[in-house]
């Protein structure tokens, strides 16, 4: 097993055990092959690899959006593979936050309504969830634009709203799939500053994927994967379309 900084610590926050993910599209395609990995609380981890390497698949599996073909995934020592769809939805609602490459805000809701959406699902009373959503927007610097709809916000602003939505319900980990891929370098850097700030100041654990060297350089730990397997960083460097 190759690990970015390889440090074994106490009980892992997330444990990926010999996970394989295969898709059947005419022929059997293996997206992940027997991958094992651990993530710990408070990390700011990047998953690096070229397109098609399995980064998004890994994040989807960790995020319980998809189930592995073989192997198992544990969150805080609890096995999540095998839970029912409803149990998984509840698990995501309570413990996970998501940031997507395409922002994926709900178009008809304003920034603050998008931010409070997880709390709507949790049944948090309206005044409390509004206060917490405004607080989250303040922490990403968008309090003034709280009532704008996504179509009235720039890409960077939309992604900040997505960050606010991902952390507003105090999850144990935020999973971000190529969060800066659609942003220009300046906005991307600002977003990373924001995420890093939340990591250091609030102890929020981030796992994000990217193949942008500038983004990866900000991570405290980088996990390299290629063709569904973990690779040694040196191999990754050597890869023609790999990361620096």
């Amino acid at each position: 097993m190759f690990d970015g900084d390889g440090g074994a610590r106490t009980t892992p926050l997330i444990e990926v055990r010999r996970v394989t993910k295969e898709y059947k599209t005419g022929t059997k395609v293996s997206a992940l092959s027997g991958l094992s990995l651990e993530f710990h609380s408070g990390e700011f981890t990047a998953i690096a690899g070229p397109s098609g390497s399995g980064k998004s698949t890994l994040l989807n599996l960790i995020g319980t959006l998809d189930a592995p073909t073989h192997g198992e995934i544990l969150h805080q020592g609890r096995k999540v593979t095998g839970l029912s769809a409803e149990e998984l939805a509840d698990f995501r609602l309570r413990h996970l936050g998501f940031i997507f490459q395409a922002y994926n805000l709900i178009p008809v809701l304003s920034a603050v309504e998008n931010t409070e959406y997880p709390m709507v699902l949790q049944g948090v009373p309206a005044p409390e969830r509004r206060a917490r959503a405004m607080e989250a927007l303040r922490s990403v610097g968008l309090e003034a634009l709280a009532h704008r709809r996504p179509d009235a916000l720039s890409g960077g602003q939309q992604q900040r709203v997505a960050v606010a939505r991902s952390m507003v319900h105090r999850p144990m980990v935020v999973l971000a799939d190529e969060p800066t891929a659609n942003l220009d370098s300046k906005t991307a850097a600002a977003l990373l500053d924001l995420m890093h700030g939340l990591n250091t100041e609030h102890g929020l654990t981030f796992i994000f994927s990217s193949h942008d060297p500038a983004v990866l350089s900000r991570a405290t730990r980088v996990v390299h994967i290629r063709d569904g397997r973990l690779v040694d960083p040196s191999e990754a460097h050597a890869a023609p379309d790999g990361v620096a």
Binding site: N60, G63, L65, D66, A85, E86, A89, D90, R92, L93, R94, L96, F98, F100, N104, L105, I106, P107, V108, L109, E113, Y117, P118, V120, L121, Q122, G123, R165
Partner: protein, 435 residues
């Protein structure tokens, strides 16, 4: 997600997609309007039936004279037809009967000053006042002496106009026709004046005023408004026995029909049987009369109204069905256009039930809005399109509105279930990748 949050999100979605929402709402609304109209008609039928039964009395029967048609005249001329003697015999044979009212129904040419008009004319006895008395009287009605002597007196019936002068029918037709007898009665104060009817001079001793046409409880009578002239039966038989069925040997006591009231519904069948035997004897076996249970006649009219209501109801239900299919279609389209959003919601933690509820509640809100719009359209339609709309509105009660809206919401719920279920079964990863 609780219901209030689902409703709030639903409203946001409806507002965000106005055109789409409006289209599916419209079909539902028209269905609701049609159902509301059905309620108005059905309730009108019931109310009018009740009023009519009260008016015609508890045991109404009518004996009508059935003249043989010329081409199949099989009469041996053994019967004198229906006469006031028959009425007398009935009175003697069935003394417990509440009313026996022989009527001679004919016509006459009325002349007053330089005007002449045609009118239906009824020769009546005092018993006539026991049925369908809906009038207000100026002057007097006939007295005993008038009946006994066949006095040359008459009572006119003045048209009652319309309670709500602006109804569509009243606008289209003047409420009376100036060119016929109505105009003469309305424009000239004929009380205590002399008029000539078929060259017989009669004194107008009283004027009865009809109730307003739109409030007339005699809606089931097709001949109302035709007869504007009343004279004592004896007078009619003496002066206006002009349409006699036996021109070779006129029957002086001829009447056109005899109205009876047995006094209770329970006695109608027995009375009908006894009348049948009695008249068979009096008419010497000739089948020249018919005994009609007037309640059945009213019932027949009510049934016609109900059939009309059922037709409209089926149209309304069809419109709701079309609206429902529209809702299915619109909800399916909404689901397909929001697949990615559904993926996001599922990823963030929405359960399948949350997604199902969201789309169902959204459709039900559309149904609710469509229902309310339908009630408004229905009321508007009744007021401005239907002829008798103003009158029909009065037959709607609060629960009719509530029930139609409930039907609309219920239909929306049923028709949104399938698309909402499809949405709830979407795989979050695939939904997130959907372009």
């Amino acid at each position: 997600m609780n219901l209030a949050d689902a409703a709030r999100t639903g409203l946001v979605e409806i507002r965000a997609h106005k055109a789409r929402s409006l289209l599916s709402l419209a079909a539902i609304a028209f269905g609701v309007a049609a159902i509301l109209y059905t309620f108005a008609i059905a309730n009108e039928a019931l109310t009018k039936q009740r009023e009519a039964f009260n008016l015609v009395g508890p045991g109404p029967i009518q004996i009508t004279f059935m003249q043989w048609r010329k081409e199949d005249d099989k009469s041996l001329r053994l019967s004198r037809g229906l006469t006031s003697d028959d009425a007398e015999s009935i009175r003697l044979a069935l003394p417990w009967v509440h009313m026996v009212s022989p009527v001679l129904d004919t016509w006459g040419e009325v002349r007053y000053k330089f005007l002449n008009r045609w009118s239906g004319l009824l020769g009546v006895t005092d018993e006539w006042r026991k049925r369908n008395w809906v009038y207000t009287l100026r002057g007097r009605f006939f007295n005993k002496s008038d009946y006994e002597t066949g006095a040359p007196v008459c009572v006119l019936i003045e048209p009652g106009g319309w309670a709500k002068g602006k109804s569509a029918e009243a606008r289209r037709w003047s409420y009376y026709n100036d060119e016929d007898i109505d105009g003469l009665i309305v424009h000239y104060n004929l009380l205590n004046q002399e008029i000539s009817v078929n060259n017989t001079v009669l004194t107008v001793v009283g004027i009865l005023k009809d109730p307003p046409k739109d409030k007339d409880p005699r809606w089931f009578k097709s001949d109302r408004g035709n007869n504007r002239l009343l004279v004592p039966l004896t007078t009619a038989q003496r002066y206006f026995n002009n349409d006699n069925w036996r021109s070779d040997k006129p029957v002086a006591e001829r009447v056109s029909f005899i109205d009876l009231d047995t006094g209770s519904l329970a006695t109608v069948p027995a009375a009908t049987r006894r009348l049948q035997s009695l008249l068979d004897i009096l008419h010497r076996g000739e089948k020249d009369f018919q005994i009609v249970d007037l309640r059945q006649e009213i019932q027949k009219k009510v049934n016609e109204m109900r059939e009309h209501a059922l037709t409209i109801l089926s149209l309304g239900l069809l419109a709701i069905l079309a609206g429902g299919v529209g809702i299915t279609n619109v909800t399916l389209a909404t689901v397909y256009s929001r697949i990615r959003e559904i993926g996001v919601r599922r990823a963030v933690g929405a359960t399948r039930m949350d997604i199902l509820m969201q789309f169902v509640v959204e459709a039900m809100l559309l149904g609710l809005l469509g229902g309310i719009a339908g009630v408004i359209i229905g009321l508007g339609g009744l007021l401005f399109v239907a002829e008798e709309g103003v009158e029909k509105l009065g037959y709607l009660v609060w629960w009719h509105y509530l029930f139609t809206v409930f039907i609309s919401v219920g239909a929306s719920f049923v028709f949104a279930l399938y698309p909402a279920y499809s949405a709830s079964r979407l795989d979050p990863t695939e939904a997130l990748l959907y372009e």
